[in-house]
Symmetry: C2
Subunit: 236 residues, 2 copies
Protein backbone atom coordinates (compact mmCIF):
# COMPACT_ATOMS: atom_id res chain seq x y z
CA UNK A 1 0.00 0.00 0.00
CA UNK A 2 3.06 2.16 0.18
CA UNK A 3 4.84 1.37 -3.03
CA UNK A 4 1.80 1.27 -5.25
CA UNK A 5 1.52 5.03 -5.72
CA UNK A 6 5.24 5.47 -6.14
CA UNK A 7 5.43 3.08 -9.05
CA UNK A 8 2.23 4.57 -10.41
CA UNK A 9 3.90 7.95 -10.68
CA UNK A 10 6.69 6.71 -12.89
CA UNK A 11 4.41 4.36 -14.81
CA UNK A 12 2.03 7.22 -15.51
CA UNK A 13 4.96 9.07 -16.98
CA UNK A 14 5.44 6.22 -19.43
CA UNK A 15 1.73 5.85 -20.00
CA UNK A 16 1.17 8.80 -22.27
CA UNK A 17 1.56 8.05 -25.98
CA UNK A 18 3.49 11.21 -26.70
CA UNK A 19 5.94 10.62 -23.88
CA UNK A 20 6.27 6.95 -24.73
CA UNK A 21 7.13 7.89 -28.29
CA UNK A 22 9.77 10.29 -27.08
CA UNK A 23 11.31 7.73 -24.80
CA UNK A 24 11.41 5.01 -27.41
CA UNK A 25 12.99 7.50 -29.76
CA UNK A 26 15.69 8.00 -27.14
CA UNK A 27 16.25 4.29 -26.68
CA UNK A 28 19.13 4.28 -29.10
CA UNK A 29 21.09 6.31 -26.59
CA UNK A 30 21.37 9.40 -28.75
CA UNK A 31 20.58 12.78 -27.33
CA UNK A 32 17.81 14.58 -29.20
CA UNK A 33 16.61 18.16 -29.10
CA UNK A 34 13.18 19.19 -27.96
CA UNK A 35 11.99 19.90 -31.48
CA UNK A 36 13.20 16.57 -32.79
CA UNK A 37 11.36 14.85 -29.98
CA UNK A 38 8.25 16.87 -30.71
CA UNK A 39 8.43 15.54 -34.24
CA UNK A 40 8.92 11.97 -33.06
CA UNK A 41 5.98 12.24 -30.75
CA UNK A 42 3.78 13.96 -33.29
CA UNK A 43 2.90 16.87 -31.07
CA UNK A 44 3.53 20.59 -31.09
CA UNK A 45 6.53 22.21 -29.54
CA UNK A 46 4.78 23.63 -26.51
CA UNK A 47 3.25 20.27 -25.72
CA UNK A 48 6.58 18.52 -26.11
CA UNK A 49 8.22 21.03 -23.85
CA UNK A 50 5.70 20.29 -21.15
CA UNK A 51 6.19 16.58 -21.48
CA UNK A 52 9.92 16.90 -21.34
CA UNK A 53 9.81 18.92 -18.15
CA UNK A 54 7.75 16.19 -16.58
CA UNK A 55 10.11 13.49 -17.75
CA UNK A 56 13.02 15.43 -16.38
CA UNK A 57 11.29 16.10 -13.09
CA UNK A 58 10.55 12.39 -12.91
CA UNK A 59 14.22 11.61 -13.41
CA UNK A 60 13.71 9.57 -16.54
CA UNK A 61 15.64 11.83 -18.86
CA UNK A 62 18.56 14.12 -18.30
CA UNK A 63 19.11 17.32 -20.15
CA UNK A 64 22.19 19.09 -21.35
CA UNK A 65 21.96 22.52 -22.77
CA UNK A 66 24.26 23.46 -25.55
CA UNK A 67 23.90 26.84 -27.13
CA UNK A 68 20.27 27.42 -27.85
CA UNK A 69 19.51 23.72 -28.00
CA UNK A 70 18.56 21.45 -25.20
CA UNK A 71 19.59 17.87 -25.68
CA UNK A 72 17.64 15.17 -23.92
CA UNK A 73 18.75 11.62 -23.31
CA UNK A 74 17.62 8.74 -21.14
CA UNK A 75 18.97 9.20 -17.65
CA UNK A 76 20.35 5.68 -17.55
CA UNK A 77 20.28 2.26 -19.05
CA UNK A 78 17.86 1.13 -16.38
CA UNK A 79 15.23 3.28 -18.02
CA UNK A 80 15.88 1.51 -21.30
CA UNK A 81 15.69 -1.81 -19.52
CA UNK A 82 12.24 -1.03 -18.16
CA UNK A 83 11.12 0.10 -21.58
CA UNK A 84 12.33 -3.18 -23.02
CA UNK A 85 10.41 -4.99 -20.34
CA UNK A 86 7.27 -3.12 -21.20
CA UNK A 87 7.72 -3.97 -24.85
CA UNK A 88 7.96 -7.60 -23.87
CA UNK A 89 4.72 -7.36 -21.96
CA UNK A 90 2.99 -5.50 -24.75
CA UNK A 91 4.22 -8.14 -27.12
CA UNK A 92 3.02 -11.04 -25.02
CA UNK A 93 -0.35 -9.58 -24.18
CA UNK A 94 -0.84 -8.74 -27.83
CA UNK A 95 -1.59 -5.11 -27.09
CA UNK A 96 -3.31 -3.46 -30.05
CA UNK A 97 -0.41 -4.13 -32.42
CA UNK A 98 -1.84 -2.08 -35.24
CA UNK A 99 0.39 -3.41 -37.97
CA UNK A 100 3.67 -5.27 -37.68
CA UNK A 101 5.42 -2.74 -39.85
CA UNK A 102 8.30 -3.51 -42.17
CA UNK A 103 10.99 -2.44 -39.78
CA UNK A 104 9.80 -4.84 -37.09
CA UNK A 105 11.84 -7.81 -38.35
CA UNK A 106 14.90 -5.63 -38.65
CA UNK A 107 14.35 -4.48 -35.08
CA UNK A 108 14.21 -8.04 -33.88
CA UNK A 109 17.38 -8.89 -35.74
CA UNK A 110 19.56 -6.15 -34.31
CA UNK A 111 18.82 -2.93 -32.54
CA UNK A 112 20.20 -0.54 -29.99
CA UNK A 113 19.16 -0.83 -26.38
CA UNK A 114 20.36 2.49 -25.02
CA UNK A 115 24.04 2.05 -25.83
CA UNK A 116 24.52 -1.62 -26.48
CA UNK A 117 23.44 -4.25 -28.96
CA UNK A 118 20.11 -6.02 -28.59
CA UNK A 119 17.97 -8.39 -30.61
CA UNK A 120 19.11 -11.69 -32.12
CA UNK A 121 22.57 -10.35 -32.61
CA UNK A 122 22.72 -9.04 -29.07
CA UNK A 123 21.94 -12.38 -27.47
CA UNK A 124 24.20 -14.13 -29.96
CA UNK A 125 27.01 -11.87 -28.85
CA UNK A 126 26.55 -12.71 -25.19
CA UNK A 127 26.21 -16.40 -26.03
CA UNK A 128 29.42 -16.34 -28.01
CA UNK A 129 31.32 -14.56 -25.28
CA UNK A 130 30.24 -17.11 -22.75
CA UNK A 131 30.83 -20.09 -24.98
CA UNK A 132 34.34 -18.87 -25.63
CA UNK A 133 34.97 -18.42 -21.96
CA UNK A 134 35.47 -14.70 -22.33
CA UNK A 135 32.85 -13.97 -19.71
CA UNK A 136 31.88 -16.14 -16.79
CA UNK A 137 29.87 -15.81 -13.63
CA UNK A 138 31.85 -14.79 -10.61
CA UNK A 139 30.41 -13.94 -7.25
CA UNK A 140 27.05 -14.08 -8.90
CA UNK A 141 27.89 -11.49 -11.51
CA UNK A 142 29.19 -11.66 -15.00
CA UNK A 143 32.86 -10.81 -15.35
CA UNK A 144 35.63 -11.31 -17.88
CA UNK A 145 38.04 -14.16 -17.25
CA UNK A 146 41.80 -13.78 -17.47
CA UNK A 147 41.76 -15.28 -20.95
CA UNK A 148 38.77 -13.08 -21.74
CA UNK A 149 40.72 -9.93 -20.97
CA UNK A 150 43.29 -10.95 -23.53
CA UNK A 151 40.57 -11.75 -26.05
CA UNK A 152 38.96 -8.36 -25.56
CA UNK A 153 42.28 -6.60 -25.79
CA UNK A 154 42.93 -8.38 -29.09
CA UNK A 155 39.56 -7.19 -30.27
CA UNK A 156 40.60 -3.65 -29.52
CA UNK A 157 38.92 -2.98 -26.23
CA UNK A 158 40.81 -1.46 -23.35
CA UNK A 159 39.24 -2.57 -20.10
CA UNK A 160 41.31 -0.18 -18.04
CA UNK A 161 39.19 2.94 -18.18
CA UNK A 162 35.99 0.89 -17.91
CA UNK A 163 36.89 -0.80 -14.68
CA UNK A 164 36.83 1.85 -12.01
CA UNK A 165 33.57 3.48 -13.00
CA UNK A 166 30.39 3.39 -11.03
CA UNK A 167 28.63 1.78 -13.91
CA UNK A 168 28.94 -2.01 -13.85
CA UNK A 169 31.21 -3.54 -16.46
CA UNK A 170 28.86 -6.35 -17.39
CA UNK A 171 25.17 -6.63 -16.85
CA UNK A 172 22.65 -9.04 -18.31
CA UNK A 173 19.69 -7.21 -19.79
CA UNK A 174 16.52 -9.05 -20.72
CA UNK A 175 15.83 -8.82 -24.42
CA UNK A 176 12.16 -8.33 -25.13
CA UNK A 177 12.11 -9.89 -28.56
CA UNK A 178 14.33 -12.87 -27.79
CA UNK A 179 13.31 -13.37 -24.17
CA UNK A 180 16.90 -14.11 -23.37
CA UNK A 181 19.65 -11.93 -22.04
CA UNK A 182 22.00 -9.73 -23.96
CA UNK A 183 25.06 -7.91 -22.68
CA UNK A 184 24.64 -4.46 -21.17
CA UNK A 185 26.98 -2.46 -18.99
CA UNK A 186 30.02 -0.52 -20.06
CA UNK A 187 31.53 -3.54 -21.79
CA UNK A 188 28.38 -3.98 -23.85
CA UNK A 189 28.64 -0.36 -24.85
CA UNK A 190 32.33 -0.67 -25.64
CA UNK A 191 31.75 -3.70 -27.85
CA UNK A 192 29.12 -1.80 -29.80
CA UNK A 193 31.34 1.19 -30.42
CA UNK A 194 34.23 -1.05 -31.36
CA UNK A 195 32.07 -2.86 -33.92
CA UNK A 196 31.03 0.50 -35.30
CA UNK A 197 34.70 1.53 -35.53
CA UNK A 198 35.42 -1.64 -37.47
CA UNK A 199 32.53 -0.76 -39.81
CA UNK A 200 30.90 -4.01 -38.87
CA UNK A 201 27.60 -2.23 -38.42
CA UNK A 202 25.85 1.03 -38.97
CA UNK A 203 23.29 2.49 -36.65
CA UNK A 204 20.34 3.69 -38.69
CA UNK A 205 19.86 7.41 -38.97
CA UNK A 206 16.30 6.98 -37.87
CA UNK A 207 15.02 4.59 -35.27
CA UNK A 208 17.30 2.21 -33.51
CA UNK A 209 17.68 -0.45 -36.14
CA UNK A 210 21.24 -1.64 -36.53
CA UNK A 211 22.40 -2.84 -39.93
CA UNK A 212 25.37 -5.19 -40.27
CA UNK A 213 27.67 -4.69 -43.21
CA UNK A 214 28.76 -7.74 -45.24
CA UNK A 215 32.19 -7.63 -43.70
CA UNK A 216 30.55 -7.23 -40.33
CA UNK A 217 28.45 -10.34 -40.87
CA UNK A 218 31.57 -12.25 -41.68
CA UNK A 219 33.65 -10.86 -38.87
CA UNK A 220 30.93 -11.34 -36.29
CA UNK A 221 30.53 -15.00 -37.24
CA UNK A 222 34.27 -15.47 -37.14
CA UNK A 223 34.89 -13.81 -33.81
CA UNK A 224 31.73 -14.52 -31.85
CA UNK A 225 29.76 -17.12 -33.78
CA UNK A 226 30.19 -20.84 -34.27
CA UNK A 227 30.78 -22.86 -31.17
CA UNK A 228 34.40 -23.88 -31.38
CA UNK A 229 36.66 -21.76 -29.19
CA UNK A 230 38.53 -21.29 -32.44
CA UNK A 231 42.06 -20.11 -32.60
CA UNK A 232 42.06 -19.11 -36.22
CA UNK A 233 38.78 -19.42 -37.99
CA UNK A 234 35.47 -20.53 -36.79
CA UNK A 235 32.67 -20.26 -39.27
CA UNK A 236 30.51 -22.97 -40.69
Amino acid sequence: MKDGPVIAAVAALLGDPARANMLTALMDGRALTASELAGEAGVGLPTASGHLSKLEAGGLVSVEKQGRHRYFRLSGSDVAAVLEGLMGLADRTGAVRTRPGPKEPALRAARLCYDHLAGERGVALLDGLRRRGVLAERDGDLAPTAAGRAFLCDFGIDLGPLAGKRRPLCRACLDWSERRHHLAGSLGAALLTRMAELSWLKVGETGRVVAFTPSGEHGFAEVFGGDAPAHGRAGR
Copy 2:
Protein backbone atom coordinates in the same frame (compact mmCIF):
# COMPACT_ATOMS: atom_id res chain seq x y z
CA MET B 1 7.10 5.49 -33.87
CA LYS B 2 4.80 2.51 -33.82
CA ASP B 3 5.82 0.89 -30.60
CA GLY B 4 5.49 4.01 -28.52
CA PRO B 5 1.73 3.82 -28.28
CA VAL B 6 1.76 0.09 -27.68
CA ILE B 7 3.95 0.38 -24.64
CA ALA B 8 1.98 3.42 -23.57
CA ALA B 9 -1.16 1.31 -23.39
CA VAL B 10 0.28 -1.15 -20.94
CA ALA B 11 2.19 1.54 -19.04
CA ALA B 12 -0.99 3.56 -18.66
CA LEU B 13 -2.54 0.49 -17.11
CA LEU B 14 0.18 0.54 -14.47
CA GLY B 15 0.00 4.29 -14.14
CA ASP B 16 -3.13 4.57 -12.07
CA PRO B 17 -2.57 4.50 -8.31
CA ALA B 18 -5.48 2.21 -7.64
CA ARG B 19 -4.39 -0.30 -10.25
CA ALA B 20 -0.78 -0.08 -9.18
CA ASN B 21 -1.83 -0.86 -5.63
CA MET B 22 -3.77 -3.86 -6.79
CA LEU B 23 -0.88 -5.19 -8.82
CA THR B 24 1.66 -4.75 -6.06
CA ALA B 25 -0.74 -6.52 -3.74
CA LEU B 26 -0.73 -9.40 -6.20
CA MET B 27 3.04 -9.48 -6.43
CA ASP B 28 3.30 -12.19 -3.83
CA GLY B 29 1.69 -14.57 -6.29
CA ARG B 30 -1.47 -15.12 -4.29
CA ALA B 31 -4.85 -14.87 -5.94
CA LEU B 32 -7.12 -12.28 -4.37
CA THR B 33 -10.81 -11.57 -4.74
CA ALA B 34 -12.20 -8.38 -6.18
CA SER B 35 -13.28 -7.07 -2.79
CA GLU B 36 -9.92 -7.76 -1.21
CA LEU B 37 -8.27 -5.89 -4.03
CA ALA B 38 -10.72 -3.03 -3.62
CA GLY B 39 -9.62 -2.83 -0.02
CA GLU B 40 -5.96 -2.91 -0.95
CA ALA B 41 -6.44 -0.15 -3.45
CA GLY B 42 -8.54 1.93 -1.11
CA VAL B 43 -11.35 2.25 -3.58
CA GLY B 44 -14.98 1.22 -3.86
CA LEU B 45 -16.12 -2.08 -5.25
CA PRO B 46 -17.56 -0.73 -8.48
CA THR B 47 -14.39 1.18 -9.18
CA ALA B 48 -12.26 -1.85 -8.45
CA SER B 49 -14.38 -3.96 -10.73
CA GLY B 50 -13.81 -1.53 -13.55
CA HIS B 51 -10.09 -1.49 -12.98
CA LEU B 52 -9.91 -5.24 -12.88
CA SER B 53 -11.71 -5.60 -16.18
CA LYS B 54 -9.20 -3.29 -17.73
CA LEU B 55 -6.30 -5.18 -16.25
CA GLU B 56 -7.74 -8.42 -17.51
CA ALA B 57 -8.41 -6.99 -20.95
CA GLY B 58 -4.84 -5.77 -20.98
CA GLY B 59 -3.61 -9.24 -20.19
CA LEU B 60 -1.87 -8.28 -16.98
CA VAL B 61 -4.00 -10.36 -14.67
CA SER B 62 -5.84 -13.60 -15.16
CA VAL B 63 -9.07 -14.46 -13.44
CA GLU B 64 -10.48 -17.68 -12.12
CA LYS B 65 -14.01 -17.83 -10.87
CA GLN B 66 -14.81 -20.07 -7.99
CA GLY B 67 -18.27 -20.06 -6.60
CA ARG B 68 -19.38 -16.51 -6.23
CA HIS B 69 -15.85 -15.24 -5.91
CA ARG B 70 -13.54 -14.18 -8.65
CA TYR B 71 -9.89 -14.67 -7.92
CA PHE B 72 -7.37 -12.49 -9.67
CA ARG B 73 -3.67 -13.16 -10.02
CA LEU B 74 -0.84 -11.77 -12.10
CA SER B 75 -0.89 -13.36 -15.51
CA GLY B 76 2.77 -14.28 -15.34
CA SER B 77 6.06 -13.64 -13.67
CA ASP B 78 7.03 -11.24 -16.44
CA VAL B 79 4.45 -8.83 -15.08
CA ALA B 80 6.07 -9.06 -11.68
CA ALA B 81 9.46 -8.53 -13.29
CA VAL B 82 8.32 -5.30 -14.91
CA LEU B 83 6.84 -4.14 -11.63
CA GLU B 84 10.15 -4.83 -9.95
CA GLY B 85 11.85 -2.83 -12.65
CA LEU B 86 9.54 0.08 -12.07
CA MET B 87 10.22 -0.06 -8.36
CA GLY B 88 13.90 0.12 -9.12
CA LEU B 89 13.37 3.20 -11.24
CA ALA B 90 11.12 4.81 -8.67
CA ASP B 91 13.76 4.09 -6.08
CA ARG B 92 16.59 5.54 -8.09
CA THR B 93 14.76 8.64 -9.23
CA GLY B 94 13.63 9.18 -5.68
CA ALA B 95 9.99 9.43 -6.66
CA VAL B 96 7.96 11.01 -3.90
CA ARG B 97 8.96 8.38 -1.34
CA THR B 98 6.53 9.59 1.27
CA ARG B 99 8.03 7.76 4.23
CA PRO B 100 10.31 4.74 4.24
CA GLY B 101 7.91 2.78 6.39
CA PRO B 102 8.90 0.13 8.89
CA LYS B 103 8.38 -2.79 6.57
CA GLU B 104 10.77 -1.43 3.98
CA PRO B 105 13.91 -2.99 5.52
CA ALA B 106 12.12 -6.29 5.89
CA LEU B 107 11.11 -6.08 2.25
CA ARG B 108 14.67 -5.55 1.21
CA ALA B 109 15.83 -8.48 3.28
CA ALA B 110 13.47 -11.08 1.87
CA ARG B 111 10.28 -10.85 -0.09
CA LEU B 112 8.21 -12.65 -2.66
CA CYS B 113 8.57 -11.76 -6.30
CA TYR B 114 5.50 -13.44 -7.73
CA ASP B 115 6.33 -16.98 -6.68
CA HIS B 116 9.99 -16.97 -5.85
CA LEU B 117 12.36 -15.44 -3.33
CA ALA B 118 13.71 -11.92 -3.81
CA GLY B 119 15.68 -9.38 -1.82
CA GLU B 120 19.01 -9.99 -0.11
CA ARG B 121 18.10 -13.58 0.52
CA GLY B 122 17.02 -14.08 -3.06
CA VAL B 123 20.30 -12.95 -4.56
CA ALA B 124 22.19 -14.84 -1.85
CA LEU B 125 20.36 -17.96 -2.91
CA LEU B 126 21.33 -17.59 -6.54
CA ASP B 127 24.90 -16.72 -5.56
CA GLY B 128 25.13 -19.81 -3.42
CA LEU B 129 23.75 -22.06 -6.11
CA ARG B 130 26.29 -20.78 -8.58
CA ARG B 131 29.18 -20.88 -6.17
CA ARG B 132 28.38 -24.48 -5.38
CA GLY B 133 28.23 -25.35 -9.04
CA VAL B 134 24.57 -26.32 -8.83
CA LEU B 135 23.66 -23.92 -11.61
CA ALA B 136 25.83 -22.83 -14.47
CA GLU B 137 25.43 -21.02 -17.74
CA ARG B 138 24.81 -23.27 -20.68
CA ASP B 139 23.95 -22.09 -24.14
CA GLY B 140 23.57 -18.69 -22.69
CA ASP B 141 20.98 -19.74 -20.17
CA LEU B 142 21.12 -20.83 -16.60
CA ALA B 143 20.75 -24.58 -16.10
CA PRO B 144 21.47 -27.13 -13.40
CA THR B 145 24.63 -29.16 -13.77
CA ALA B 146 24.71 -32.93 -13.36
CA ALA B 147 26.03 -32.52 -9.82
CA GLY B 148 23.43 -29.81 -9.32
CA ARG B 149 20.60 -32.20 -10.10
CA ALA B 150 21.79 -34.49 -7.35
CA PHE B 151 22.10 -31.57 -4.97
CA LEU B 152 18.57 -30.43 -5.69
CA CYS B 153 17.23 -33.95 -5.36
CA ASP B 154 18.89 -34.20 -1.94
CA PHE B 155 17.26 -30.97 -1.01
CA GLY B 156 13.90 -32.50 -1.87
CA ILE B 157 13.19 -31.06 -5.26
CA ASP B 158 12.06 -33.27 -8.10
CA LEU B 159 13.14 -31.73 -11.37
CA GLY B 160 11.13 -34.22 -13.42
CA PRO B 161 7.75 -32.48 -13.52
CA LEU B 162 9.39 -29.07 -13.88
CA ALA B 163 11.34 -29.93 -16.99
CA GLY B 164 8.82 -30.35 -19.77
CA LYS B 165 6.76 -27.24 -19.03
CA ARG B 166 6.57 -24.18 -21.16
CA ARG B 167 7.79 -22.10 -18.30
CA PRO B 168 11.59 -21.94 -18.18
CA LEU B 169 13.27 -23.84 -15.39
CA CYS B 170 15.73 -21.12 -14.49
CA ARG B 171 15.57 -17.46 -15.20
CA ALA B 172 17.57 -14.58 -13.81
CA CYS B 173 15.31 -11.82 -12.58
CA LEU B 174 16.67 -8.38 -11.74
CA ASP B 175 16.16 -7.54 -8.10
CA TRP B 176 15.14 -3.92 -7.62
CA SER B 177 16.52 -3.49 -4.14
CA GLU B 178 19.78 -5.35 -4.64
CA ARG B 179 20.35 -4.45 -8.28
CA ARG B 180 21.59 -7.96 -8.85
CA HIS B 181 19.84 -11.04 -10.11
CA HIS B 182 17.87 -13.54 -8.15
CA LEU B 183 16.52 -16.87 -9.35
CA ALA B 184 13.12 -16.99 -11.02
CA GLY B 185 11.55 -19.67 -13.17
CA SER B 186 9.96 -22.88 -12.00
CA LEU B 187 13.06 -23.89 -10.07
CA GLY B 188 12.98 -20.61 -8.19
CA ALA B 189 9.37 -21.30 -7.30
CA ALA B 190 10.13 -24.88 -6.29
CA LEU B 191 12.94 -23.78 -4.00
CA LEU B 192 10.63 -21.34 -2.28
CA THR B 193 7.90 -23.89 -1.66
CA ARG B 194 10.45 -26.41 -0.46
CA MET B 195 11.84 -23.94 2.05
CA ALA B 196 8.32 -23.27 3.22
CA GLU B 197 7.77 -27.02 3.61
CA LEU B 198 10.90 -27.21 5.73
CA SER B 199 9.54 -24.37 7.86
CA TRP B 200 12.59 -22.36 6.97
CA LEU B 201 10.43 -19.36 6.27
CA LYS B 202 6.93 -18.02 6.54
CA VAL B 203 5.28 -15.77 4.02
CA GLY B 204 3.58 -12.93 5.82
CA GLU B 205 -0.18 -12.88 5.87
CA THR B 206 -0.14 -9.35 4.59
CA GLY B 207 2.20 -7.91 2.05
CA ARG B 208 4.95 -9.96 0.54
CA VAL B 209 7.48 -9.86 3.32
CA VAL B 210 9.11 -13.22 3.95
CA ALA B 211 10.27 -14.05 7.46
CA PHE B 212 12.95 -16.66 8.08
CA THR B 213 12.62 -18.87 11.15
CA PRO B 214 15.66 -19.44 13.37
CA SER B 215 16.09 -22.95 12.01
CA GLY B 216 15.66 -21.52 8.53
CA GLU B 217 18.45 -19.01 9.09
CA HIS B 218 20.69 -21.81 10.15
CA GLY B 219 19.72 -24.19 7.40
CA PHE B 220 19.99 -21.56 4.71
CA ALA B 221 23.49 -20.61 5.81
CA GLU B 222 24.46 -24.27 5.92
CA VAL B 223 23.05 -25.26 2.57
CA PHE B 224 23.43 -22.13 0.46
CA GLY B 225 25.61 -19.76 2.44
CA GLY B 226 29.31 -19.68 3.13
CA ASP B 227 31.54 -20.49 0.24
CA ALA B 228 32.67 -24.00 1.01
CA PRO B 229 31.02 -26.53 -1.29
CA ALA B 230 30.03 -28.31 1.93
CA HIS B 231 30.55 -32.02 2.25
CA GLY B 232 27.88 -34.68 1.85
CA ARG B 233 24.99 -33.29 3.78
CA ALA B 234 22.55 -30.97 2.10
CA GLY B 235 19.28 -29.97 3.62
CA ARG B 236 16.62 -31.83 5.47
